[in-house]
C-alpha cells in the first residue's frame, strides 16, 4: 500500500516528465484505438451496406443443371425453403425474392454494363428508404418496364428519367434476349457497387429471363441485425437439408464456403434443383481478411511504438533511479525491503501506462468523434465502408483491454531493469553517493 502511495506521490513530483511519458503511451494507444475502431466498424458498415444491396443476411439459391451440364439459377417452388425458415426460427424482418441478370443497357450507340435486380417493390418496403433519387422516383416503377439506375450509368447512356433504353441480356438458360426499359429514376452515385446495380420490376425481369412469374433465383432473409447470421444460416441449412437436396456448407474457418460450394456444383451431378444456403459473412469473408490484416497491422504498430517508448521509459527510469539514489538509501535504511523498492518503481511505470492509456482512449474518442462528423456525401467511391456517408468507429471491449494489457506489460518490462537495480542498491552505498 505504501509503495502505491509513494509511487503516486513520486509521479506528481516530476509532473512534466510523468506527463511526457504518459503522452507517449497515450499517442500509441490513440493510433491503435482509432485503427481498431475503424476496422471493427468497417466490417459492420460493409456488412450492412451489402445487406441493403443484396436485400438480406441469409440467402438460399436454387441451382439446376441443364442437359449439357451447365448450371442455371432458379427457385421454382419455395415451400421447402419457407418451411425450413420457420423450423430454423429465422427472425426475418423481410423476406426478399429476387431474380437478376447481368445486362448491357443501350441507348443511341452508347452502352453500359450492370447487374439488374428484379424486385417486388410491394414487399420490399425497406428499399425506398435506401434509394436517394437525383431525378424521377419510385412512382415511375408503376410502369412494368421501369428501371432505376445510378447517376454515372445514366450519364454514360446519356439518358434522363422518362427515357426508354434497350436492355440486352441472356435468359436464365443463356439464350440471347432483348427488352426495353423506361428510366423511372436516377439515384445518386452510391460508389462502385451502386454504380454496377440497377433495380427493375421482378415480373418484367422474370419475363426477360424466361422465368415464370412465380419463379425467382434467390430468397434473402433480412434479419433485425448482423448478429447471429451464421448461426441462422447453419440452422436454415440443417432444416433445409432434411427436405431437399442442399450443397453442404463447409463450416471450417479456413475454407471459403462459397468457393467450396462452387467446387461442389462443378463436380457433382444431380437432377432437379439443389440449393445453396449462404450468409453475408460467406460473401464477405475477404472483408474479414482485410479486417484481420488491419488488426494485425495495428498490433504491429502498437508493438513498434512501444518498443520505442520502452527505450525512453527504461532510460527515464534509470535517470530517476540515479536522481533518487539517496532517497532509496534512506528508505532502505528505514526498513523498506528490496521488493518494496522494486515495486515502487514498477507501480510508477504502471500508473504512467494506465494514465497514458486512459488519456489515449479519451483522445481516440475525440479523434473518432471528429472524423465521424465529416460527411463524405452519397457520391463517394468509399460509400460501401461508410454509414450514411460518415465514417464510423466501434470499440471492442476485449480488443481495447488487450491493447491496454500489452501496453501495461511492455511498460513494466521497460521499467523492470532500473527497478531491479534500484532494489539491489546497498543502503550504505546509496547514502554515500553524491550526484
Amino acid at each position: 500500500m505504501n509503495s502505491i502511495k509513494l509511487a503516486l506521490r513520486n509521479l506528481t513530483r516530476q509532473k512534466k516528465r510523468s506527463i511526457l511519458l504518459a503522452s507517449a503511451v497515450a499517442f500509441g494507444i490513440l493510433i491503435v484505438t482509432v485503427i481498431n475502431g475503424f476496422a471493427a466498424a468497417f466490417v459492420q458498415n460493409v456488412s450492412e451496406n451489402f445487406a441493403n444491396l443484396e436485400a438480406g443476411h441469409v440467402f438460399v439459391e436454387g441451382v439446376e443443371k441443364t442437359a449439357s451440364g451447365r448450371e442455371v439459377s432458379i427457385v421454382r417452388d419455395d415451400k421447402a425453403i419457407m418451411d425450413a425458415a420457420v423450423a430454423a426460427k429465422i427472425p426475418a424482418k423481410y423476406i426478399t425474392k429476387r431474380s437478376s441478370f447481368e445486362a448491357t443497357l443501350r441507348n443511341e450507340g452508347r452502352s453500359a454494363q450492370l447487374a439488374i435486380s428484379g424486385v417486388d417493390f410491394a414487399s420490399e418496403t425497406f428499399l425506398p428508404d435506401r434509394l436517394v433519387f437525383k431525378s424521377g422516383g419510385l412512382e415511375g416503377m408503376q410502369d412494368r418496364q421501369g428501371v432505376i439506375i445510378s447517376e454515372p450509368i445514366a450519364k454514360r447512356l446519356g439518358v434522363e428519367a422518362g427515357d426508354r433504353i434497350l436492355v440486352q441480356l441472356r435468359t436464365y438458360t443463356g439464350q440471347q434476349n432483348v427488352g426495353e426499359f423506361s428510366v423511372a429514376g436516377i439515384t445518386y452515385d452510391s460508389g462502385i457497387i451502386g454504380n454496377m446495380s440497377g433495380y427493375a420490376n421482378k415480373d418484367y425481369v422474370n419475363e426477360l429471363l424466361a422465368l415464370s412469374p412465380d419463379e425467382y433465383q434467390t430468397v434473402g432473409f433480412y434479419l433485425p441485425s448482423l448478429d447471429g447470421m451464421d448461426q441462422y444460416g447453419n440452422a436454415l441449412y440443417d432444416a433445409l437439408k432434411d427436405k431437399v437436396p442442399v450443397f453442404s456448407r463447409d463450416k471450417t474457418a479456413e475454407a471459403n464456403p462459397i468457393r467450396a460450394m462452387m467446387e461442389q456444383t462443378k463436380k457433382e451431378t444431380w437432377t432437379g434443383i439443389k440449393y445453396r444456403v449462404l450468409t453475408l459473412n460467406d460473401f464477405l469473408s475477404q472483408v474479414q481478411q482485410i479486417v484481420n490484416v488491419l488488426n494485425t497491422v495495428s498490433l504491429i504498430i502498437l508493438i513498434v511504438l512501444f518498443v520505442i517508448i520502452m527505450v525512453g521509459i527504461t532510460n527515464t527510469f534509470r535517470i530517476i533511479m540515479f536522481e533518487r539514489i539517496k532517497e532509496i538509501g534512506t528508505m532502505r535504511s528505514m526498513g523498506m525491503q528490496r521488493g518494496e523498492v522494486r515495486n515502487l518503481f514498477l507501480f510508477e511505470a504502471l500508473f504512467i501506462a494506465l494514465g497514458g492509456a486512459v488519456a489515449g482512449l479519451v483522445l481516440a474518442g475525440v479523434a473518432m468523434g471528429i472524423l465521424s462528423l465529416v460527411n463524405f456525401g452519397m457520391d463517394t467511391p468509399i460509400f460501401i465502408i461508410l454509414k450514411n456517408g460518415h465514417l464510423t468507429f466501434r470499440l471492442e471491449f476485449w480488443r481495447t483491454a488487450l491493447d491496454i494489457g500489452i501496453v501495461a506489460v511492455l511498460t513494466l518490462i521497460a521499467a523492470y531493469i532500473p527497478a531491479r537495480n534500484a532494489a539491489k542498491l546497498d543502503p550504505a552505498v546509496a547514502l554515500r553517493t553524491t550526484k
Binding site: 442437359a67 449439357s68 451440364g69 443501350r106 450507340g109 438458360t173 443463356g174 439464350q175 426477360l208
Partner: protein
C-alpha cells in the same frame, strides 16, 4: 366465266407451288447445310481476320487461328492479334469449354456463346454448323436474295443450349449453302444478321465462304467482317486439342 378461269388458274398455281415446296425435304436440306460446314473425319484449320467497326471508333482487327476436329467435336481458338490478347484461347472438348489467359496462366470455364473479344462474332460462329440438331423448321418460303434463288427457313430451337431461340436461315436453292442468317432474341427482336458472302474457298471438297459479315441490328453501324485464309484440312496433331497446347502456344 373468265373470272372462274382465272380463279382456277390461280388455285392451280398455288397448288403447284405448294407441291413444289412440299417436295423439298427441308430437314435433309438443313442436314446438308450442316454437312457442308462440317469436315467430318478431316481436321480443319484456318486463320480468321475479324475487322470490327463501331461508329466513332477506328476499326479494330482481331486475328484468330482455328483448329477443328469435327468428328470428335473438338475446337481450339487461339488469338494472334491484337498483341495484348495474344496467346489467349478457347478449348472445346465435348460440352466443356475452357478459356486460357496466358497472363494468369489459368483456365476458366467458358461457353461457345461468348463473343470473340469486342467483335460481333461468337466462338460458335467458327465451329461446325448444327442447325439440324439444334433447331426445328417451323416455316419455309421461297425467295430471291441478290442473284440467288433461295429458300427461307424459320427455325425454332429444340433446346435452351443455343444462343438464339429463333433463326431465319436463307439457303441457296442450287446448293445447300447458307447466304444469310438472321438471329432473333427470345422476345423476337432481330439481334444480328450474318451474311455468308458468296465467294468460296474449296477446302477438301467443301465450299466455305471466304468472308462472313455480321451486322449488329441493335446498334446501327456496328459490324464485323471475318475473312478466312490459310485454310487446311490436313491432319492435326492430337496435342493441338489439349490444354498444354494453349499453354505453349504463345
Amino acid at each position: 366465266m373468265k373470272r372462274t378461269r382465272i380463279a382456277i388458274l390461280a388455285a392451280a398455281f398455288v397448288a403447284v407451288a405448294t407441291l413444289a415446296a412440299g417436295a423439298q425435304d427441308f430437314k435433309a436440306m438443313l442436314k446438308a447445310v450442316d454437312e457442308i460446314g462440317s469436315f467430318g473425319s478431316q481436321d480443319y484449320s484456318a486463320t480468321y481476320s475479324i475487322v470490327s467497326e463501331k461508329p466513332g471508333e477506328n476499326p479494330s482487327l482481331i486475328e484468330v487461328k482455328i483448329f477443328r476436329r469435327d468428328a470428335h467435336d473438338q475446337f481450339v481458338l487461339l488469338i494472334q492479334k491484337p498483341d495484348k490478347q495474344k496467346g489467349q484461347g478457347y478449348l472445346k472438348i465435348d460440352d466443356n469449354v475452357w478459356f486460357y489467359d496466358p497472363e494468369s496462366g489459368n483456365f476458366s470455364h467458358s461457353t461457345m456463346k461468348e463473343n470473340i473479344q469486342n467483335s460481333e462474332a461468337k466462338n460458335s460462329d467458327l465451329k461446325k454448323y448444327t442447325f439440324a440438331d439444334d433447331y426445328d423448321i417451323i416455316s419455309t418460303a421461297s425467295g430471291k436474295l441478290g442473284a440467288f434463288d433461295v429458300w427461307i427457313l424459320d427455325l425454332k430451337a429444340k433446346n435452351d443450349e443455343v444462343s438464339y431461340r429463333h433463326i431465319r436461315l436463307t439457303i441457296r436453292k442450287d446448293k445447300p449453302i447458307p447466304l444469310k442468317e438472321e438471329d432473333y432474341s427470345v422476345s423476337e427482336r432481330l439481334m444480328r444478321t450474318v451474311y455468308y458472302l458468296p465467294n468460296y474457298i474449296n477446302a477438301g471438297g467443301r465450299l466455305i465462304p471466304a468472308r462472313i459479315k455480321i451486322v449488329d441490328e441493335l446498334n446501327k453501324g456496328e459490324q464485323s467482317v471475318l475473312t478466312i485464309s490459310d485454310v487446311s484440312v490436313g491432319k492435326l496433331d492430337d496435342q493441338v486439342f489439349t490444354k498444354a497446347f494453349l499453354e505453349r502456344a504463345r
